[in-house]
Symmetry: C2
Subunit: 449 residues, 2 copies
């Protein structure tokens, strides 16, 4: 990169993906003398860490999504295109979706990650994950529909199956999901059915490792386990799903019939590595330099969940704060280069803390040497997440919904739409455990459509 | 009905459809010595008069939907089943969805209405209507996606087509939709695009009759026309759509290329008449007695948009207040009969007023002899609709969103989801023009799935 001057009067920066990483790049370049094109297959930025609250009917999709155009309407050096990039031509320096072509001088790929089933892809329709709005809607409908069926059926075994939810993966996604489903059952739905007792619902978390939240400090894992235990969530540690079908799962060969199975056990990067023909790890994350670009194409940066970056000899985790830090860093690198200034020092990830909520008034938080649990942790968690949300309106609206839910135990978005809802798509993550977690994958060129 | 005593210790009342009419029956019977089963194919009550605000990205589906279970959680003589009824057996007195069977002593059918194309059903995929959450989501995505395509394309004709919206039908639905699309273009999207100017968007309303809002007083029609004119909406009166395809419409043979065509020109009742083998009008609305039941089956009531009821020699309009009044009346009839008291006098519809909003701070309202227009009308319209919403939370949330939108011109729900969103379903209405309009069709047994 250093040896090639920008081709146009103002260098053109193409940013693919409007998740946390992509937004941070475009926003970080707001005062730089560059022309930015931000491309995403969706028209909105998704606040993915709260997606599980859409899946459990606490929030509406609109509350955790923000039109990318609105974010950049006042930033005159940025334009937004809704476009699903599926190829990069590194020689002509263009990206394309097959019809439109966008040229670049600098390219930033921040296309996120999707679920992974590690060779068991046939499980996907039965054990969907949670990465997109469609995933969340489908999961919500599946969950609510199962309770409706349970209320109607006269078959005792089928009723038990409908009231059983299995969550595969005991990372932050898994435990938050388990807590949210338990609250839905124990609080929100209480008293609303005539045949079934929502409190008889069974929720099982299956985790292959020896403890929940394995990247968190041990005492937080234990606190989390005891919180889930109080909420009647069964946690099976050192256990593996050995089979999965339309009626349930097998855990170490033992059958659990379940109407809802949620996959929160692994992620795989979007196919940016294939577009670039670049070296990648087994999760398809592109290996990048200390400046987060490619050695042989220094004008190409790969950030967020799409890259396998290192910091101080350790892998950078696949979480929202890391994605934001990478985005801000790349904006500095490009800004310095475009202004012909010396480059910033190599990227360093600063870990801000660990954070997971396991239910109303129960969260586990670790910031530096401080651990917070229970209600204090929950208040802190709520504040952090509301602060993170883009735009005042979403903040107010989400905060009001949470306060309302806390006071009344009601939920605001309990919709089951048409039976022919978008097909269950899939994904999740168990190896990513921070505060606002997971980079947004709203640009996952090549997935869905 | 009078001559047959209830078969069970407490008479069983089955209410099919949880729209305005069905809810009013079940709620009206809250203190009656009966066992109520409320059946709906959805798990939520939909506040259909605000559906066009979901379609134009102002509100989220969750804000105008309310879980039926929540509404009845405290009413112990009512149970709720999510079930899509598709047959009635009047001899065994049961309703069924093909698998479950629900017996009744009294049956109330309140299954609403759907769009109608009057012999041009092939237009349906190109000119969808607006009756369900899926309709609204699909329309919203279509509308927003067209602007995104316009921003990307280099083809001038295609860009103009993407920026053109045609609304078929100049009733309340049509004019409200036109006003909302114009506001989306002129206010919300202003400054967010780099290539297109949202203000160059073309919006056309096609109405077969000689004036808009034909059931309203003439001066309100004229006021509405001038409001739309100020918003640059083209209104074509005495005009008919003569053809419709994937690229646009023909109006009296004249071609208008348009990416979005919205059908707001007619409704047809759900197939309750077929289930009952009952006499019905050309819109398939069941003819009912002055007590809103069937002459040969007095235990069966048909109300809301599903019936062709008369009051004072005039047809009862297909609007929300009428549906509520019918529901409340039938609750009284059943309550009196179950308590072996004399029946109430025949049903009489009380018209409360005419009300339509054509944009931010522009509405037309007629209550008795009072007409309100412009800002005063808009404030009144907002208050009425917020009052109508069930449940405090929805009220607060919708009111906040409107205030927010009024102050900032932003919208809260501008999501384009997957390209494979639910296929464009259809419907609408131009012959129904009151305040909160149209009975809910959430139970439209036989439609969609």
């Amino acid at each position: 990169m250093a040896n090639r001057p920008p081709a146009s009067p103002r260098p053109r920066v193409a940013v693919v993906g409007a998740g946390f990483a992509g937004l941070a790049v475009a926003q970080g370049l707001r005062s730089a003398p560059v022309d930015i094109t931000l491309l995403d297959r969706r028209n909105f930025h998704l606040f993915q860490p709260l997606l599980y609250q859409v899946a459990t009917a606490s929030l509406s999709p609109g509350q955790i999504s923000w039109p990318v155009r609105s974010v950049f309407s006042a930033q005159k050096n940025a334009r937004v295109l809704m476009m699903e990039v599926n190829a990069v031509d590194t020689r002509s320096r263009t990206v394309t979706d097959g019809s439109s072509v966008v040229p670049y001088d600098y390219l930033v790929l921040a296309t996120g990650a999707r679920h992974a089933y590690f060779g068991n892809e046939r499980w996907e329709p039965f054990a969907p994950g949670l990465k997109t709005i469609e995933d969340a809607r489908a999961l919500r409908e599946n969950l609510l529909r199962a309770y409706e069926t349970a209320e109607k059926t006269r078959d005792g075994a089928e009723r038990r199956r409908c009231l059983t939810t299995v969550i595969v993966g005991g990372g932050a996604t898994g435990v938050e999901m388990a807590g949210a489903v338990a609250e839905l059952a124990n609080r929100t739905l209480k008293g609303e059915f005539r045949t079934i007792d929502p409190q008889s619902m069974r929720i099982v978390v299956v985790e292959a490792g020896p403890r929940l939240l394995r990247t968190f400090p041990v005492e937080l894992s234990e606190k989390c386990l005891s919180s889930l235990d109080k909420m009647n969530v069964e946690v099976r540690l050192k256990s593996r799903v050995t089979d999965c079908d339309a009626k349930g799962v097998s855990v170490d060969g033992l059958r659990i019939d379940a109407a809802t199975v949620i996959w929160a056990a692994g992620v795989q990067a979007s196919p940016a590595a294939n577009w670039l023909n670049a070296r990648a790890d087994k999760s398809n994350r592109v290996f990048v330099s200390a400046a987060l670009n490619l050695d042989d194409h220094p004008e190409i940066f790969v950030i967020g969940d799409t890259c396998a970056a290192m910091s101080d000899g350790k892998p950078v985790p696949g979480i929202a704060p890391a994605a934001k830090q990478m985005g801000a860093y790349v904006a500095k690198v490009i800004g310095a280069h475009a202004a012909q200034k010396p480059p910033p020092p190599p990227f360093r990830y600063r870990h801000q803390g660990d954070l997971a909520v396991v239910g109303r008034s129960a969260a586990v938080v670790r910031i530096g040497k401080i651990s917070l649990t229970g209600f204090t942790g929950w208040i802190f968690w709520s504040l952090v997440h509301v602060m993170f949300l883009i735009g005042f309106r979403s903040k107010t609206s989400v905060a009001l919904d949470w306060i309302w839910a806390f006071v009344t135990r009601q939920r605001s978005a309990r919709l089951i739409s048409d039976g022919d809802a978008s097909p269950l798509a899939t994904s999740a993550s168990s190896d990513v455990q921070l505060s606002p977690r997971r980079d947004n994958t709203s640009q996952g060129g090549g997935y869905a459509a």
